[in-house]
């Protein structure tokens, strides 16, 4: 069964939800202008805590940087929340920057038609 390690199919494509052993704490708020690390799990189950974390940054006058490099899993609920955050920041004339790459997030955003709103860095660049 070694095929699964070397096969053409990357392991991240598996749709089966892994055991939810990761702590439910989705976000870690850093009050300084340092990047906000989005947790690995960004699904409907984690959306509430993610919202709490993002809400604190909503009125931050600095440029908010979201570090998405850790994101492993995301669903529409998670993406809706992030998109909402970005849109609201923009409505207030404030920017959101991205740090790191999250292929899962980028794919999801494209599929849901949210790519243009999020303005994620081009995949080709970040995946390097």
């Amino acid at each position: 069964m070694n095929k699964r390690k070397q096969g053409a199919v990357p392991r991240t494509t598996r749709r089966g939800r892994p055991a939810r052993t990761a702590p439910a704490v989705a976000t870690e708020y850093k009050p300084a202008s340092g990047p906000f690390a989005v947790a690995a799990e960004c699904t409907v189950a984690d959306a509430s805590s993610l919202k709490v974390g993002l809400a604190k940054l909503l009125d931050d006058t600095d440029i908010v940087t979201l570090d998405i490099s850790a994101v492993q899993r995301i669903d529409t609920a998670g993406l809706q929340l992030i998109a909402m955050f970005v849109r609201e920041r923009e409505a207030r004339g404030r920017q959101v920057k991205w740090q790191g790459a999250a292929p899962v997030l980028a794919t999801a955003a494209e599929l849901l038609g949210l790519g243009s709103l999020l303005k994620l860095p081009a995949l080709a660049e970040t995946s390097k």
Binding site: R14, A47, L58, T76, M84, T107, L111, L112, L123
Partner: protein, 737 residues
């Protein structure tokens, strides 16, 4: 607003487990190479309905897994892939995994997620490999998707996107779209997908649906953000987004709708063919967007979504301004998640709770008693109309009996419900033990009470394992013994005199009496010089902790021994016997009552009291001769019976009743068996045998040792039903004094 769906969980689990059983049975019947398409359809339907149900109830893991399974099954169904042995094994494993997942959700227990994801991986790998192979001949690959696929999109979806499966476009849907459909295989669809807020809570994820759409063709996704509230007001668990998706590909409306099947009832969905340019109505909703409970499909809507061809729908709903709109279908989708499941049960049947049936049983029991009382009264009646009355009462008696039997039959299920698990089990065990085994099932239609049926499964499993593990020899040994290399395990069920006999027999090596005896001697269970009959030796294997297996395998001999089998059978009011011949095989015969609500009893008289002894506990009844009685240590009375000395239990002493007969030769002994021991119950007289309805003594009073319940006799009086095992237990405490 979230609707509490948990109330429907039980029905879902029950139906799913039943469906999995039928899926497993179908898989086992599936011929490699030349599979029966009807069987594959059955298997597909099971996976499909479990997927739908689990999505509805928010069991995302199960939904996701079954989705992968369904994809593979769809390939098999359409002939895109062939059923191979490895696929068949994979599908059987999937049945196990789905069972485990359902059980873990049901019991709210954690699950071995690794096992699930490993298997899901294998499933997707097979599909991906197939699609990858197909992709070399298809070059249609939407650029955006290709771009994503190259970086990180799920392989199965990327590969599938590279090759829109042509077989998904079914002939019927092509017909449905009619003349409006372009001759070209490529069609342009517009999908308006407007989820309700609760979509996420139901375990649905639009992302997953979009991924599936990419498998169908090229996508143009436009998101509608107008429903979004302010960030502060946003409920992170609610869905505010809506989409309009353009889809180009050789796809039928049906296959598009299939993608959104899980979300039925949780969204407004409009699928339109765009070949003629049409203005889109801003919002097209057939009815109130207020979601209704998943279990309460609005009938009209269900019919609409289930059967109305698009043209008819259009006639009803097309707005005059868009009269030119071709093939517009608008469906307010309401969940019919449970419809496919119930469609599995082929005949017209309804689910009734066991409590209701028990209530019915009780009432009929009363009726029987009342009828018996009336009959007694009628028999004593004199006068001009007495004959007519008696004729009427006789009619009443017949009708009452028939009614009682019919109600009892409602609780009866064929034993095939239990037998059906064995083909799979035997197949797996034989593989693991390198034995060749033919399983023979007969009498599967024999019916018995649901409660009995539920409890007989485990003992039978143990017996069958035992036969395969210890009974059937390896092919080499069998051939050397002049037998065919394949052993036979035979399960049989039949009616036998008011009881059900279930037999597990094999043509294996049989029991080695010498070894059993040697072991029993070594353990001090049998004295070194005692001579035992064959029956007595066979009885030894039912002694707790007794096992003759050379090595403990993980199959049997794990401490759960024959003693447990016997105890389980006893708890059902049944008994188990063993016949075995060295070198020829063994035969276990389980005798069970038809039902637990009624018992065949022998009425006995002790003083003025009447007791009922269950017939199944009775070996024989006899009058004692003085010569056959001896007294041990002055007080304990025994009598000889077929070479054994059995203790005598005087029921009048045990129950504190004034007897008519005190001298043993004046009364009778009923030789009864309980817990593997035989005793003689001393009674005044035998009264007759009859079926009695078992009533609880504990409902208003409490448990009484030696009494299992009570019943109401024809004259309306109460008789206690004896529990022979309890009596032996109570008496042995006394006798020990």
């Amino acid at each position: 607003m979230t609707i509490d769906l948990t109330q429907f969980h039980d029905a879902f689990f029950e139906e799913s487990f039943e469906a999995l059983d039928s899926m497993e049975a179908a898989l086992l019947k599936l011929d490699i190479g030349a599979p029966d398409s009807e069987l594959i359809n059955t298997i597909f339907r099971v996976a499909h309905s479990i997927k739908g149900g689990s999505a509805t109830f928010g069991f995302a893991d199960i939904a996701s897994f079954t989705h992968s399974l369904e994809t593979l099954l769809d390939e098999l169904r359409s002939g895109g892939m062939q059923v191979t042995l490895s696929i068949s094994d994979l599908l059987l494993k999937s049945v196990d995994v789905m069972r485990a997942m359902l059980r873990s959700v049901q019991a709210k227990q954690p699950l071995d997620a690794q096992r699930v994801s490993d298997l899901q991986f294998d499933l997707e790998l097979i599909i991906a490999q197939k699609n990858a192979a197909a992709a070399t001949t298809h070059t249609v690959m939407p650029a955006a998707i290709a771009h994503l696929a190259a970086s990180s999109a799920p392989a199965s979806c990327a590969a599938a996107a590279a090759s829109p499966p042509a077989e998904l476009a079914s002939a019927s849907s092509a017909a449905a779209t009619g003349a409006a459909a372009a001759k070209s295989a490529q069609r342009r669809w517009e999908i308006s997908f407007r989820p309700y807020r609760e979509l996420f809570a139901r375990g649905n994820d639009p992302l997953r649906m979009m991924r599936e759409l990419t498998e169908l063709g090229e996508l143009d996704v436009n998101v509608d953000l107008s429903g979004l509230p302010s960030f502060a007001e946003l409920d992170p668990q609610a869905c505010y987004l809506a989409w309009t998706v353009g889809l180009t590909g050789d796809v039928s409306e049906e296959s598009i709708r299939q993608v959104f099947e899980w979300a039925e009832g949780d969204c407004d969905l409009v699928v339109r063919l765009l070949d003629a340019p049409v203005a889109v109505p801003a919002t097209v909703r057939a009815s109130e967007p207020e979601p209704t409970s998943a279990a309460n499909p609005v009938v009209a809507d269900a019919i609409l979504s289930a059967s109305a061809p698009p043209q008819e729908t259009k006639a009803d709903l097309a707005v005059p301004a868009h009269a030119a709109a071709p093939a517009l279908s608008v469906v307010k989708q309401d969940s019919k998640a449970d419809a496919p499941l119930s469609a599995l049960g082929d005949s017209g049947s309804i689910r009734v709770s066991v409590e209701k049936i028990d209530e019915l049983m009780n009432t009929v029991g009363e009726l029987v008693i009342t009828q018996a009382m009336l009959s007694q009264l009628g028999a004593a009646m004199e006068g001009p109309n007495a004959e007519k009355l008696r004729a009427g009462l006789a009619q009443l008696e017949r009708n009452t009996r028939e009614l009682q039997e019919s109600v009892m039959r409602v609780r009866m299920l064929p034993i095939s419900f239990v037998f059906s698990r064995f083909p799979r089990m035997v197949r797996d065990l034989a593989q693991r033990l390198n034995k060749q085994i033919d399983l023979k099932l007969t009498g599967e239609q024999t019916e018995l009470d649901k409660t009995v049926l539920e409890k007989i499964g485990d003992p039978l499993v143990h017996l069958v394992r035992n036969s395969i593990d210890h009974g059937i020899e390896s092919p080499e040994v069998r051939v050397a013994a002049g037998k065919s290399p394949a052993g036979t395990v035979h399960l049989d069920a039949c009616h036998r005199g008011g009881n059900i006999a279930v037999e597990v027999s094999d043509d294996g090596g049989g029991l080695d009496k010498d070894r059993i005896l040697a072991k029993a001697r070594a353990r001090g269970l049998v004295g070194p010089t005692d001579v035992l009959t064959d029956d007595q030796i066979h009885d030894l294997i039912f002694v707790p902790g007794f096992s003759t297996a050379d090595k403990t395998t993980d199959l049997s001999g794990r401490g759960v021994g024959m003693d447990v089998v016997r105890r389980n059978v006893k708890e059902l009011g049944g008994k188990i016997e063993l016949r075995s011949e060295r070198g020829r095989g063994s035969r276990f015969i389980i005798t069970l009552p038809l039902t637990l609500a009624i018992v065949d009893g022998q009425s006995v008289a002790v003083g003025t009291e009447t007791y009922i002894i269950p017939l199944i506990s009775i070996v024989e009844s006899m009058r004692l001769k003085e010569a056959s009685i001896s007294r041990l240590s002055g007080r304990n009375e025994v009598f000889s019976f077929r070479g054994d000395y059995l203790p005598i239990i005087r029921l009048h002493e045990l129950f504190g009743v004034e007897p008519r007969a005190r001298a043993l030769h004046e009364g009778l002994v009923v030789i009864a068996e309980g817990d593997g021991r035989r005793v003689g119950l001393f009674v005044d007289d035998l009264l007759g045998q009859q079926q009695v309805v078992i009533k609880s003594l504990e409902a208003n009073y409490g448990h009484v040792e030696g009494v299992s319940g009570a019943t109401i006799l024809g004259d309306g009086s109460v008789a206690l039903i004896l529990d022979v095992t309890g009596i032996i237990h109570a008496a042995s405490l006394r006798a020990a004094a």
